[in-house]
C-alpha cells in the first residue's frame, strides 16, 4: 500500500488535471484556475467531471467513485477528501 499523498501534492496533481480538462473544453487559462472555485465554472460538463476522476485514478493508482468530483466540487475539497482517506490499491 503506497503512503497516502499529502494535501499539497494532491492540489498540484488536481490543478494540472483540471487545467488540462479546462483547456480542452472552455479554454480557461491555467493561471486563472482557483482551487476554491467550483469545477463546473471551468466549463466541465458531467462527462468531463467523470473523465477527471478517471485521470485522477490513473495518477494515484487507486480506485475512486465516479461521482467523486460532484460530491467534492472544488480542487481543494477533492484534495482534502483524498488526503484524509487511506489509499486503497486497486485489486
Amino acid at each position: 500500500m503506497p503512503d497516502s499523498i499529502s494535501f499539497d501534492a494532491l492540489v498540484d496533481i488536481l490543478s494540472a488535471l483540471v487545467a488540462q480538462a479546462a483547456r480542452k473544453t472552455s479554454g480557461t487559462p491555467a493561471e486563472t484556475i482557483d482551487p476554491d472555485a467550483s469545477l463546473t465554472s471551468f466549463g466541465l460538463d458531467s462527462m468531463a467531471m467523470v473523465e477527471l476522476v478517471s485521470a485522477l485514478e490513473e495518477q494515484l493508482d487507486r480506485e475512486l467513485e465516479p461521482e467523486l468530483a460532484f460530491n467534492y466540487p472544488t480542487i481543494n475539497a477533492l484534495a482534502r477528501h483524498l488526503s484524509a482517506q487511506p489509499a486503497t490499491v486497486e485489486a
Binding site: G27, G43, L44, D45, S54, E63, P66, F70
Partner: protein, 556 residues
C-alpha cells in the same frame, strides 16, 4: 396485426413471476467492492406491487403523473413498474448529480401537471432547486410504504407512460406511450434479436428511451436477464462494458455510436486481452448517426476476441415510435452504400463522382414487423423525410392534439434493397450522445450571456464531424459598441460557461460576428442551414479570429 405474447407489460411481468419466480431478471453490477444487487421476477413483481399499494396510500389517484427522478438502479425499475400496476403514469427524468438538471425536471413536472415526484432524496440539489409546481409533491423512495395492493385491469389503449425526449425547454413534449404501443414495440424488439438470446448487458441511462425500452422493459417482457451499470461508470472505465459482457457470457448489448467510438478512444494497449466477445449474437448501434469507420474499427479491434461481423446490428429508432423502427436482422452483415454527397444535397441517391464526393452510409436494417415507412421524396428512389406508422407509433404528445395518420420523423433517408438508410435531419435538432437539443434553447442562453445582445442574434448549429461525432457551435452577433469593447476570449468563455451550466454540454466553438452577419429568412429569423453552409465554406468567420473555425469543429 401481429399477435402479441402479452398484450401489456404488466401481464408479462405477472406471467414470468408465476412461471419462473426465482429466475434472475436484473443484476445491478457493483464495482469497487460493492456487491451486485439482484432482482428475480418474483422480487420484481412483489416489489412493484408494494409500490403500487403505497401509491394508493399516498393519496394519488389513477391517471396521476408521477415524475421518477432516480439514479441508475433497481429502485427505479420497481418504481416504474409500481406506477404501471397502480395505473399511475410514470414520467422518467434525468436526476443529474448537480443542480444543472433542475430546470428540466421543473419543466417536465409542469408540462405533465405531475402530482408526485419520486426520488431517493428530495434534498438532492437537482430536486431541491427544481422549484416544483405547487401541485407536485416530492417524496423519498424509502418513504413509500403501507397500503394494500389492489390489482387493476389495464386497458391496452390507456396511457402507460410519458417519454420526454422531445421538445425544447420552453416547449417540452411528452411522447405518449400506450400499453399497446409499448407491448408492440417490446415484442418487435424481441423479434429482431437472435432467437436464443437470454442475457444482455447495458450501461445506458434508464430514464431515456433506448436504455428504458431496450434494456429495462424488453428484458421484463421477453423474460431475459440484464446485467447493468451506470453511464458514469461506463465513462469512468469504458472497457467495463466489454469486461461485463465477457464475465456474463452475454448474448446482446446496445449503445449509440458514441459508446463504440468512446471505447476505441479510451482503450489502452493490452486492454483487449482476456476479453471474449464470442457469446455476442447481437451488438446493436442506434439512436445516433452510425459511423461506418467507427463500426469497422470496432470490429477489426475486437475480432480477435471472437466478435463476429454478423453480430453488429445497426438500427434506427426514436421515442415517437416507442423506440425501435428498424434493425438489421440476425445473421446478416451490415451493408454500406457509397453515395455522392453532391447527390444527397439534391435529394438523390447516386454514385460518388470522386473520393471527396463519397459519403459512406450504413444501412439501419429492415423495418420492424407491422410498421409502414414512407420516404416523402420528391423523386422515386430519392432522399426524403422518413414518415412512419404502426401500432407502436405514439398517438401524440401529452396535452396536445392527437396525431393524424403517419408521423414525420424529421430524419432524412432512403430505402434500398429493403433497408433503411439515414442521411441527415430536416429539423435543426442537435443530437449529442443520444440527447436531443433544441437550437432555440441554446441561442437564448447565448443571448442572455452576451451584454447588449437582443433576441434572434445567435445561431446554434449542429455539426457532424469525423466518425459521426456530433458537436455544435454557437455563432453570436455583437453590436458595434460591443465589438469595440469586448474581450473576445472572455466573452467566448462566458457564453460557453452559461450553456454548460444550463444544459450540461459545451459548444465546440463560440464564434463572434458583427450584427447582421448571420443569414436570415425573409421574415428576419436566423437561417440556421444557411449559417451552417456559410461556416463550412468560410464565408462566415469570427470577427476577432478569422481562422477560429478553419479546420472545422472536431476534425482534430
Amino acid at each position: 396485426m401481429i399477435r402479441l405474447p402479452f398484450d401489456t407489460l404488466a401481464r408479462a411481468l405477472q406471467a414470468h413471476a408465476a412461471r419462473a419466480p426465482e429466475q434472475l431478471v436484473f443484476r445491478r453490477k457493483g464495482f469497487r467492492n460493492k456487491p451486485d444487487e439482484m432482482l428475480t421476477f418474483s422480487d420484481l413483481h412483489q416489489g412493484a406491487q408494494r409500490i403500487a399499494a403505497a401509491l394508493d396510500a399516498e393519496g394519488t389517484v389513477e391517471g396521476d403523473r408521477v415524475v421518477l427522478a432516480y439514479p441508475t438502479g433497481n429502485d427505479f425499475i420497481l418504481a416504474f413498474l409500481g406506477c404501471l400496476l397502480a395505473r399511475r403514469i410514470p414520467v422518467p427524468v434525468n436526476l443529474g448529480k448537480d443542480a444543472r438538471s433542475a430546470g428540466r425536471i421543473r419543466t417536465v413536472a409542469q408540462d405533465c401537471d405531475a402530482a408526485l415526484l419520486l426520488c431517493p432524496d428530495p434534498a438532492a440539489p437537482a430536486v431541491a432547486s427544481a422549484q416544483l409546481p405547487g401541485g407536485c409533491r416530492p417524496l423519498a423512495h424509502d418513504r413509500l410504504a403501507g397500503g394494500v395492493y389492489t390489482p387493476r385491469p389495464i386497458d391496452p389503449d390507456d396511457i402507460a407512460f410519458l417519454q420526454y425526449t422531445s421538445g425544447s425547454t420552453g416547449d417540452p413534449k411528452g411522447v405518449i406511450v400506450t400499453h399497446r404501443s409499448l407491448a408492440t414495440n417490446l415484442h418487435q424488439i424481441a423479434s429482431v434479436v437472435p432467437a436464443d438470446l437470454t442475457r444482455i448487458v447495458s450501461w445506458l441511462p434508464q430514464f431515456h428511451d433506448m436504455g428504458l425500452i431496450g434494456t429495462v422493459l424488453t428484458p421484463i417482457y421477453a423474460g431475459w436477464e440484464c446485467t447493468y451499470f451506470s453511464p458514469m461508470e461506463f465513462v469512468q472505465r469504458p472497457m467495463r462494458w466489454l469486461q461485463v459482457i465477457t464475465e456474463t457470457r452475454a448474448h446482446g448489448a446496445v449503445a449509440p455510436n458514441f459508446g463504440f467510438s468512446y471505447v476505441l478512444e479510451r482503450m489502452k494497449e493490452g486492454e483487449a486481452e482476456g476479453l471474449d466477445l464470442s457469446s455476442l449474437g447481437i451488438l446493436m448501434s442506434g439512436s445516433e448517426p452510425i459511423s461506418v469507420s467507427v463500426m469497422d474499427r470496432f470490429l477489426s479491434t475486437f475480432a480477435p476476441t471472437g466478435l463476429r461481423a454478423s453480430a453488429l446490428a445497426p438500427s434506427y429508432g426514436l421515442a415517437e415510435a416507442t423506440l425501435l423502427v428498424s434493425a438489421l436482422r440476425p445473421g446478416l452483415e451490415p451493408s454500406v452504400q457509397d453515395v455522392s454527397l453532391a447527390g444527397l444535397e439534391r435529394d438523390q441517391v447516386v454514385a460518388p463522382g470522386s473520393d471527396r464526393d463519397r459519403r459512406r452510409v450504413m444501412g439501419c436494417g429492415q423495418l420492424a414487423d407491422d410498421m409502414t415507412l414512407q420516404i416523402a421524396a420528391p423523386a422515386p428512389g430519392g432522399v426524403g423525410e422518413i414518415v412512419i406508422d404502426g401500432p407502436n407509433v405514439s398517438p401524440g404528445y401529452w396535452g396536445r392534439r392527437p396525431r393524424k395518420a403517419g408521423f414525420a420523423t424529421g430524419d432524412l433517408g432512403f430505402v434500398m434493397d429493403g433497408q433503411v438508410y439515414i442521411t441527415g435531419r430536416i429539423k435543426d435538432l442537435i443530437v449529442i450522445r443520444g440527447r436531443n437539443l433544441y437550437p432555440t434553447d441554446i441561442e437564448a442562453i447565448s443571448q442572455a450571456a452576451t451584454p447588449g445582445a437582443g433576441a434572434n442574434s445567435a445561431a446554434a448549429i449542429g455539426l457532424t464531424g469525423a466518425e459521426a461525432r456530433e458537436s455544435f457551435v454557437v455563432v453570436q452577433e455583437l453590436s458595434a459598441s460591443q465589438l469595440g469593447q469586448a474581450d473576445p476570449d472572455a466573452l467566448r468563455r462566458a457564453i460557453a460557461q452559461s450553456i454548460c451550466d444550463e444544459i450540461d454540454l459545451l459548444p465546440d466553438t463560440v464564434i463572434l460576428v458583427r450584427s447582421n452577419a448571420l443569414p436570415r429568412t425573409t421574415s428576419g429569423k436566423v437561417a440556421r442551414s444557411a449559417a451552417r453552409q456559410a461556416l463550412l465554406d468560410h464565408s462566415l468567420r469570427d470577427h476577432f479570429n478569422p481562422t477560429l473555425f478553419e479546420k472545422g469543429p472536431c476534425l482534430a
